[in-house]
């Protein structure tokens, strides 16, 4: 087994690192403080192809693999968790389902501008009463002539008000499954500006504060019949498939946050002096750092393995990467929370001050244990495979 990264991945990592240091890091604190969406960074990322990394060139993307995409989210998140999730939600949650389940017309119309970064994407599954329990969906879509009419609302939507194209899930009827009546869920593509589609509350969050998190409201929102994504009634499968990929993005974000906190802390403990020596000279610091670095490395291997597995799936759709994605997300998210918390502790009082990056990193890390499937859901996915 070879753990050496191929040349193209080494070069890509250098690119993402340089970009993150020069373009993303200088804004990280300000966008967090002002809860400001970094539009200028998104425009720059679009210019350099970061918004369509795993999409084939003929669809406006960069023609790279999932690992390259994961490394991009990782490097961005090392310096800014907000920027990492903007790319992740756009790529994994909006482009991926349209590319995987869309018709050729839908791919040309939506994937091409999304992959070029001319448009920003979002994904709406969660509702006030339907988080982990996707069956609790209330948003309805009714076919009326040549149009679907959407009514309902979605909450906690990443890239919320800033996006242009949304993949939205809604109930389109009832079906009988194993003797039980279940909601039939379908997926739709909705464009911003469609009459009846408005925005509700902007969420005031603990972390990833620069990310635009909004409630989406649909009131007799009429979309063309051809905007149904995939087959009618296959929405739940589309959502689950999409979240498997999304988890690789969030796992990469979590990994980046952990790595960023670790690097920052290593530099800090070398500089900070107490009792006449740098705090890095104390065994407690050394042992903490050793544990942090080891867990970060283990998380990285899981994340890269899941990314590789998704690439395998691309050439062989029989391959499933659901298990690996769940393991990567579960572990990387928990490591991100643990490592950023330890980073704050090793910074002492300074770690609690907003001027220090680790304070933001710890707040950003928490969400990785929650969104795109909580850690508990990941454990359910993993154990279900084990006990199959």
């Amino acid at each position: 087994m070879d753990f050496t990264l191929p040349k193209e991945h080494e070069m890509a990592r250098q690119l993402f690192k340089d970009f993150a240091e020069n373009e993303v890091k200088p804004l990280a604190q300000e966008i967090d403080e002002n809860h400001r969406f970094p539009r200028e960074t998104v425009d720059k990322m679009a210019k350099y192809g970061f918004m369509g990394i795993p999409v084939p060139k003929e669809y406006g993307g960069q023609g790279c693999d999932t690992l390259t995409y994961a490394m991009c989210v990782e490097e961005l998140s090392k310096v800014c968790g907000t920027t990492g999730v903007i790319v992740s939600a756009h790529t994994s949650l909006c482009i991926d389902p349209i590319f995987t389940f869309g018709t050729e017309e839908q791919k040309q119309k939506y994937v091409v501008p999304l992959a070029k970064g001319e448009k920003l994407g979002a994904f709406g599954l969660t509702e006030p009463g339907a988080g982990t329990d996707a069956q609790g969906q209330q948003t309805k879509a009714v076919l009326d002539g040549d149009e679907w009419v959407l009514n309902g609302s979605k909450c906690f939507i990443t890239n919320g008000k800033e996006a242009d194209i949304y993949v939205i899930f809604a109930v389109t009827g009832k079906i009988e499954k194993r003797g039980k009546m279940m909601k039939e869920i379908s997926a739709f593509i909705v464009e911003k500006g469609t009459p009846g589609f408005t925005f509700g509350t902007k969420e005031n969050k603990m972390g990833i504060c620069g990310s635009s998190t909004y409630e989406l409201i649909f009131t007799d929102c009429r979309i063309p019949k051809e905007n149904l994504l995939g087959q009618q009634g296959k929405g739940f499968n589309i959502a689950m498939h999409t979240l498997d990929g999304g988890r690789i993005g969030i796992a990469s974000q979590a990994l980046g946050l952990a790595e960023g906190a670790l690097e920052t802390t290593i530099n800090y403990v070398k500089e900070r002096k107490q009792f006449g020596k740098s705090i890095g000279a104390f065994q407690n610091t050394q042992f903490q750092l050793a544990d942090m670095a080891t867990k970060v490395e283990a998380a990285k291997l899981l994340v890269y393995k899941a990314a590789r597995k998704k690439d395998e799936y691309k050439s062989n759709p029989k391959v499933s990467y659901s298990f690996e994605a769940a393991q990567a997300k579960l572990y990387a998210a928990e490591v991100a929370m643990e490592v950023t918390t330890k980073a704050v502790q090793l910074h002492g009082g300074y770690g609690y001050i907003k001027e220090y990056d680790v304070e933001r990193m710890m707040r950003d890390a928490k969400i990785t244990e929650i969104y795109e499937g909580t850690s508990e859901v990941q454990r359910m996915v993993i154990s279900a495979t084990l006990l199959k």
């Binding site: 193209e8 070069m11 690119l15 350099y48 192809g49 960069q62 790279c64």
Partner: protein
């Protein structure tokens, strides 16, 4: 329009310079990067590509590892990469280097050659103008702005206390300053293509109209006696005059002592 950009892989001096015990540069201990002036030259060429559809070829001379900077240039948008590498070319000074590069360029068609002003490992600023001399074409050095107009280029040339506006008919050679522009980043797709792309590799036999006596260490008139890091300037003299008048008097005295005034 065809543009050739000469680039060099140099040790990154950002983290300080490291030397071998014999006084030569310890290249292995330092990260290798594309020379900053050359990168600005490449960016200038890529802008000509964006504007006029110019074809951009990057050329470097060095060890096989120098192909890395060619790939980086191609990932930024250059069309072709040529590596000139051969044992007999090793240890070249500016004269032997410019002779070699000119010998390689004689195989190519071009309207414009762009080089960096100077490389951060040697700081001579000689290779660019020497290439132009070998090829018998005009050279405009220290470009801080480049404009193409038909078969001419107009260059804003940096000078000590002013700038010159210089016009030249193509083909010609321009040496670029890192202040010329902000080089673009690579793109992920560009990286994948560049890694998969074929790099043309030339050796001694591919050089046109050059004499062996002008190549490599043997053909280098420059002999390096000793290399060292920059000597840091002293702390200087600190004076606290009692009044502004005393300060003026002191400064004027110092300036006339140094024959400045």
């Amino acid at each position: 329009m065809k543009v050739i950009v000469c680039i060099k892989q140099v040790p990154d001096t950002k983290g300080g310079v490291k030397f071998n015990p014999d006084g030569t540069l310890d290249r292995g201990a330092m990260l290798a990067i594309m020379n900053p002036d050359d990168k600005a030259g490449l960016e200038a060429a890529l802008r000509l590509k964006d504007q006029y559809g110019a074809e951009v070829t990057v050329l470097t001379m060095g060890l096989p590892k120098a192909a890395d900077v060619l790939r980086e240039a191609m990932a930024m948008g250059a069309d072709k990469g040529i590596l000139v590498t051969d044992r007999v070319l090793g240890g070249a000074d500016t004269w032997a280097t410019s002779t070699t590069i000119a010998g390689a360029i004689r195989n190519l068609e071009y309207d414009l050659i762009i080089t960096g002003r100077q490389a951060i490992d040697g700081d001579t600023a000689q290779v660019g103008p020497q290439i132009a001399e070998h090829l018998n074409i005009p050279v405009i050095s220290y470009a801080q702005e480049i404009k193409v107009n038909g078969d001419k280029v107009t260059v804003k040339r940096q000078y000590d206390d002013r700038y010159h506006m210089v016009e030249a008919k193509m083909p010609c050679l321009i040496t670029a300053l890192s202040e010329l522009n902000e080089p673009r980043y690579m793109t992920p797709g560009g990286i994948f293509d560049a890694v998969a792309a074929e790099i043309t590799t030339w050796g001694r036999a591919d050089l046109k109209d050059v004499d062996d006596s002008n190549l490599g260490l043997a053909g280098s008139p420059t002999k390096i006696a000793k290399a060292s890091d920059k000597v840091r300037k002293g702390a200087g003299e600190k004076v606290v005059p009692e009044s502004p008048e005393d300060a003026v008097k002191y400064i004027v005295g110092k300036l006339s002592e140094k024959h400045v005034i």
